[in-house]
């Protein structure tokens, strides 16, 4: 075994890590059937693929069901307080930009109590990976509506149905000048893993919204998108450079008509595949990305995959560059020098 490992080190320069390197010895206490289990497995599968030493991962969370996540990963981690994970992760990353920082949060944690940290972290483009578990309900407090709960939903605090307009996290991310937004499903491990890898590769705040099912308090909230019967008409996997097609036989597509997107069927009203909008995840202009993120059934399918991925300077890079520049040109390099700089006088 040791020889084998040594051989690997010689070949790749790093120890090959496996899923087991990241599994913690703590009992996972999410409800049976909760979508969180699948997300945990996907993350455990992705971490060994990143070429990052295992002690360089830090997983940070806030409060909520999803936020128990760090306890179930064998990495450095902080399970913090409600809504604050983005700001804590910011501190971790700025203190040591070399670390691979992952933030786990939910729709209550990031869209409500932590909304401010969420948008400012994205605006600054701190290089962290932010996994937003969106089950559209408060699970840990047992079933109150959240900022993403669909209007009209009956919950413990909306017995007659909510009359709040819900947030669409993707639109919020792009509105906050986000450089990366992807959406995925807890029911599709393959797609989830692919998106997490993309998020990890992106430099900046990579936000992944995971449509996650709460079996207890909002079961089947994403059913229209995820169920075998309806998913083909309600899912659109976006791929860079490919036309935005969906439906069982990819016969439906998205076109840009005037200033809005529309669903069309190929072959109807003279529509051909050439008319279908081609996805460009690297386009700096947020217009189409925002419209894609906003698409919701019944009028549209939900866009899944990497919707936006734009290369922009990260805050941590900028801060470190500024520090290095100052250090290089500074005449004061020690506290003794600073204390004795400027106007001083001697008493002898």
């Amino acid at each position: 075994m040791t020889n084998q490992m040594d051989q690997q080190i010689i070949e790749t320069g790093v120890v090959q890590l496996t899923k087991e390197d990241f599994s913690s010895d703590q009992m996972v206490k999410w409800c049976p059937g909760c979508g969180d289990h699948a997300i945990l497995h996907a993350v455990e599968n992705v971490f060994p693929e990143l070429g990052v030493p295992k002690e360089d991962f830090v997983v940070v969370s806030g409060i909520g069901c999803s936020s128990r996540f760090p306890y179930y990963m064998n990495t450095y981690g902080i399970h913090s307080i409600h809504g604050r994970a983005a700001a804590i992760a910011t501190g971790v990353k700025l203190a040591n930009p070399k670390l691979s920082v992952w933030m786990i949060t939910g729709d209550g944690d990031s869209m409500a109590i932590g909304g401010n940290h969420f948008i400012h972290t994205i605006r600054r483009n701190i290089d962290i990976n932010l996994l937003l578990f969106n089950n559209k309900i408060y699970g840990l407090t047992k079933g109150q509506y959240s900022p993403t709960t669909p209007k009209g939903s009956k919950t413990k605090t909306s017995p007659q149905g909510t009359y709040e307009r819900p947030f669409n996290p993707g639109v919020l991310v792009i509105g906050a000048q986000g450089s990366f937004f992807a959406r995925t499903l807890d029911t599709n491990p393959k797609a989830m893993t692919a998106v997490f890898l993309e998020a990890a590769k992106h430099h900046g705040t990579s936000v992944v919204e995971i449509l996650q099912n709460c079996v207890i308090f909002a079961n089947k909230t994403h059913d229209l998108i995820t169920s075998r019967e309806t998913r083909d008409d309600n899912q659109l996997f976006v791929e860079h450079g490919k036309p935005l097609l969906f439906g069982k036989n990819k016969q439906k597509g998205i076109v840009l008509k005037g200033t809005r997107l529309e669903v069309v069927t190929i072959g109807e009203d003279g529509v051909t595949e050439q008319d279908i909008l081609v996805h460009d995840q690297f386009e700096n202009d947020p217009g189409v990305h925002s419209m894609l993120a906003a698409m919701m059934p019944p009028e549209y399918p939900v866009a899944l995959g990497v919707i936006r991925s734009v290369a922009t300077e990260t805050f941590d890079q900028a801060m470190m560059a500024s520090i290095e520049e100052e250090k290089a040109s500074a005449s004061i390099r020690t506290m003794d020098q600073l204390l004795n700089s400027g106007p001083t006088w001697e008493i002898s």
Binding site: S80, I88, H117
Partner: protein, 615 residues
Amino acid sequence: MTIKNSRVVELEQVVIRFAGDSGDGMQLTGSLFSDSTAFAGNDFATFPDYPSEIRAPQGTVSGVSGFQIHFGQKTVYTSGDLADVLVAMNPASLKANMRWVKEGAIIIVDGDAFVDKGIEKAGYKSDPTMDGSLSGFKLIKSPISTLTKEAVKHLDIDLKSTMKTKNMFALGIVMYLFNRDPEVIHKYYEKKFKANPIVVEANKAVLSAGYNYADTLELFGTTFKVEPAPLAKGRYRNITGNIATAWGFMAASERSGRPLFLGSYPITPATEILQELTYHKNLGVKAFQAEDEIAGIVSAIGASYTGAMAITTTSGPGLSLKSEAIGLAVMTELPLVIVDVQRGGPSTGLPTKSEQSDLMQALFGRNGEAPVIVIAAKSSSDCFYSAYEASKLSLEHMTPVILLTDGSLANGSEVFKIPEMASLPPINPPLVAPNDPDYKPYRRDPERLNRFWAIPGTEGLRHRVGGLEKEDGSGNVSHDPLNHQKMTMLREAKVQKVAEFIPQQEVYGDDEADLLVVSWGGTFGVMLTVVEKMQEQGKSVALAHFKHIMPLPSNTEDLLGRYKKIIVCEINNGQFVKYLKMNFPQFKYLQYNKIQGLPFMVAELESRFNELLND
């Protein structure tokens, strides 16, 4: 300097107050006079007094900006009570400052500003310089604006720029009055405005004009001189409390080898600490201006977990917002210093005025049993040592520390003897070596009861921390009832143990006396001034001024028991006295409290203490 047309009288100490409209440059005037005071070898302390509005309506009382300096040939502990000299650039500044002026004081005013409109704006019914209301003072009314224009007419400079230099005319008069060499000020302008020679010329010309005017017209029959103070040998500088705080942290960072991270959100009167730290990237300082107070502290907690010497700075309202996060730092047992530059409260309160009313909040303002170390700086220059000590305690004991300063210390400045870094006590954070086989997140050092610091990126120490209660030792999440009690007691004991690592409480005065004056934090200067003065008069009075609040020094109880009467003096409604009563209920405590957004005055304390001694 030429031979002057005046007699020179020696004074022991002097208080000067410069006042004008908030656009008149009075802060600069004051600070330049401070520079000349430093070069004259006096000890001194200063305090700015400015409105919370950046540009309040011109010429009104609410728009007055002031700067007070107290200097002497003996040690100066405060920025002074009442002024011996007031410079008032307009009627409003005269009106706003007359209550701070000694009877018989010299009052220098710009006569050009005492016209109907200005007088009315200030709220005077008649011209105070004409109606005899200043008869008890020595009034020097000079046409400062006119003479300033005269002084720069040979230069190509517009009226607006000209008027900006009239503060130099007033300063010139004061420099003459105290036999100061104007060369110090000239040098400042030559250096500061190297790129703008006309500004240098104009300011120098106006300063000299003011100086010569005072001499030629024999404005004063007598001028004054304050001999140098017998300061200890060494190099000195002038420093404000906020700058001293920032530098104290930087010093602790350098000495501990832990990089400094500040997460902060601007708030009066703490903002200068954030500003100052952003200037020192050259020393590796990471100062992060967060989106709000909460992000300020939690980013610092994230940085602390990651191995930085993490701090956050704020004032009262911000401390309220940080409460929950302080609890997280208590629970995760991470080092963190929280600076509260106290101001008048509650709510927005009196943002630019000083108060000591956040003590209870600092001690107890959190959910659950959440003890933290609390220390309070005693003077502007002591902010350096307090920040250093707060960092040392936090890093070595692995616990949050709240450092209380206040608006007076923060903005006030005093003479600071520059320390050598090597003379500061070493700081040894309990770092864990890579792959330490014994490492457990909540294993403790038996001496200090701290847990150890395992930093992300270190091999073999991966672990999780968080706000949920943890099992002793392993650090796994635990809801076990007995474990919770044990952990609560451990966190409490860890903070109490700090008493073994801080100095004994010292007393200024005899071990036994008729009256023990007790105070804490930023009032040290005035308390010591009063007590020393009374001791010189042979009064049986002593001072115990507390800097360590939580825990209290271990000799506190013994000390309090030795005096016949105890009076606790605070700029609040009696918070430290409540804390002492709680800890040592066997003693009787008298109180002296002032809640006016104003500092104690020597006279008021002296008269109250004398009453108690004569009882």
